[in-house]
């Protein structure tokens, strides 16, 4: 066992931290207020090679490990939850499926520019009646000659407004037992019939771009099918497992920001003749926050490590996502409490952390779905 980060991981952490302090933190409040993603940040992240961390060099990536990727997500999320969400979704959901299931041609065409940071990508799974319940998928793709013709509707799709392509899940046929086969198809965003509108007014992670997609007789080449047509959706569960680790890492980042602010405030705020950090009521809160944060981070690293080792990590990823998001919510909530009235004011940032972290208990599988996943792993 070794709990120490490698030299490279440590260097990456410092680099991302420096970058985030100068390029992300100063805009965090603005992107929250305007609900507009700052694309320039992503161009710069791309220049630094951060949009391709876990992909091999031959696909334009940096050949880093999942732990390095989690470190980057945490540091970016610490600076701005919304930016962190778009960053994590771009890699975990936009690029990873192409890396894991794409053909060589698909990788060259779609993954390489993403890993190099030249383009962004999205994953369109959720529909008004389907998300974790993939069986509820209504979007249909019908083969017409050498083309898929896709019709349907997707909602809450991260980064779609800035994406060159969207991986869309759609029903492509029926299995022998009568159940739908749900496949994934790469749809270039500029294909006729694709309408993307990004008008959601979200509670938090407002610096992240979220869109609704309407697909009307969208025709894409048959070769755009991603992965094995017959295996359908089950192959993408692997992608979702990986995505959960990054949502957990993002939760840790937001919660770390909340703890940092709360600790600083507690030391500075004077009441009854001393700083409030001298009161046990506040100390106990801070102690619990620090403990839960560290436990969450350890679980993120463990799940990431398992993935890097090529071992099963589905259960551990669900542990990480469930614990980090729920503990993170508690931490952000207590950070406001420690700030008292000031915490309720936007200028102290902690209210934003709570709004941002709430999504972590919902996105990429709600806490309830995580419990289901864990229970299934236990053999229930």
């Amino acid at each position: 066992m070794n709990f120490e980060l490698t030299n490279e991981q440590q260097m990456l952490k410092e680099m991302v931290q420096d970058f985030a302090d100068k390029e992300i933190v100063p805009y965090a409040r603005e992107v929250d207020e305007t609900s507009k993603m700052r694309y320039e940040t992503f161009e710069k992240l791309g220049e630094l090679g951060l949009l391709g961390i876990p992909f091999p060099e031959k696909y334009g990536g940096a050949g880093g490990d999942t732990i390095s990727y989690c470190i980057a997500v945490e540091e970016i999320g610490k600076a701005c939850g919304g930016t962190g969400l778009s960053y994590a979704a771009n890699t975990s959901l936009g690029a990873s499926p192409i890396y894991y299931f794409g053909t060589e041609e698909q990788k060259q065409e779609w993954l390489v520019p993403m890993a190099k940071g030249k383009t962004m990508g999205a994953f369109g799974l959720t529909e008004p009646n389907a998300g974790s319940d993939a069986g509820g998928t209504r979007t249909r793709a019908i083969l017409d000659g050498d083309e898929w013709v896709i019709n349907g509707e997707k909602c809450w799709i991260t980064n779609a407004g800035y994406s060159r392509q969207i991986i869309v899940t759609a029903v492509t046929g029926k299995r022998e037992d009568g159940r739908n086969i749900v496949s994934a198809i790469i749809v270039p965003s500029d294909t006729p019939g694709v309408t993307i509108s990004c008008n959601y007014d979200k509670m938090g992670v407002r610096g992240s771009n979220t869109c609704e997609i309407i697909l009307e007789n969208v025709r894409v080449p048959r070769a755009n099918l991603l992965g094995d047509e017959k295996k359908g959706f089950s192959q993408f569960l692997f992608t979702l497992d990986g995505g959960r680790i990054s949502i957990a890492a993002l939760s840790v980042g937001i919660a770390q920001a909340a703890l940092d602010k709360a600790l600083q405030f507690a030391k500075e705020r004077q009441q009854f003749g001393q700083s409030i950090s001298k009161f046990q009521a506040i100390q106990f809160k801070l102690a619990d926050m620090a403990m839960e944060l560290e436990l969450a981070r350890n679980q993120v690293y463990k799940a990431a490590w398992l993935k890097d080792q090529g071992k099963p990590f589905g259960k551990e990823a669900a542990f990480a996502k469930l614990f980090a998001s729920e503990a993170g919510f508690r931490i952000c909530n207590q950070a406001i409490q420690i700030h008292g009235g000031s915490g309720y004011m936007k200028e102290y940032d902690v209210e934003r952390y709570l709004r941002d972290i709430k999504l972590m208990e919902i996105g990429e599988g709600t806490s309830e779905i995580q419990r289901l996943v864990i229970a299934r792993h236990l053999g229930c």
Partner: protein, 257 residues
């Protein structure tokens, strides 16, 4: 062009510094590349990119400094050298460091040596000039601009907020002042490549030096933190009387005039 950078690992002075047993408490402190040395690394990389050649980063220290060297490699330096004095020296000063560096550099045929203007920890600003002196080459300190054309080096240096333009010849040693450039972030591919770049480790023996040759010329007698800031005082009364009292206090109590 054969380019060398002298680099120091220092603690981050933006972090809280504590003192224990007459020494700065290193536990829990953050360590970084001396910020002025970062300007030197950046300038060296730009020189190499424009004129060709190779950038070698050199430090005197212990194994811990490998991380700062790797960071410089990740920024784009080609080679790193760690002169590890951990087993040989208990303490050293500017003389020690300069002597070791000069001994290492004397047969390297450096065209230009870059260093930080000052280290943010001990802040002597001596090592660069001393090395140049021992190597018998010219040096220019606190530079804010550097241009090299053939053998001619044109340098702008910061002189108490004003600037002075100096022309000299290669080989030369310069020390970097803030404003010389904007150091780049080590990119991720840079970090991954840094792992594979050569990092040579030397000891005093390898430089034919004995402990006695580099024995410190100075001794640290005491280290203490600046006095904590005390609450301010607001003077009252007529303006004239306030001014008189202020002058009086500055003279008698604060002893600054």
């Amino acid at each position: 062009m054969n380019i060398f950078v002298l680099l120091k690992r220092t603690f981050d002075t933006e972090e809280k510094i504590t003192i224990a047993k007459g020494a700065i408490n290193e536990e829990g402190a953050e360590f970084i590349i001396n910020p002025y040395d970062e300007y030197a690394v950046e300038e060296a990389i730009q020189l190499r990119d424009n004129h060709g050649g190779e950038v070698t980063v050199v430090t005197v220290g212990n194994e811990e400094a490998e991380k700062q060297l790797r960071t410089a490699l990740a920024m784009g330096a080609d080679k790193a050298v760690l002169i590890n004095t951990e087993d040989d020296l208990e303490s050293g000063d500017q003389f020690t460091t300069a002597k070791i560096l000069a001994e290492y550099l004397k047969d390297k045929e450096a065209d230009i040596i870059l260093a930080g203007n000052v280290a943010i920890d001990s802040g002597s600003g001596q090592v660069g000039p001393r090395v140049a002196d021992l190597l018998d080459i010219p040096y220019v300190t606190t530079i804010t601009n550097l241009e090299i054309s053939g053998e001619t080096v044109t340098v702008v240096r910061d002189v108490e907020g004003d600037s002075e333009t100096i022309e000299t010849k290669l080989p030369v040693l310069v020390t970097a002042q803030q404003g010389l450039n904007e150091p780049r972030y080590p990119s991720l591919p840079g970090i991954m490549k840094a792992k594979k770049k050569p990092l040579e480790e030397l000891e005093l023996d390898d430089l034919d030096l004995d402990e006695d040759d580099v024995e410190a010329k100075t001794k640290v007698v005491e280290i203490f933190l600046p006095p904590t800031k005390e609450a301010g005082r607001v003077l009252e009364g007529e303006l004239d009387a306030q001014v008189k009292e202020l002058v009086n206090l500055l003279h008698k109590e604060a002893k600054v005039i």
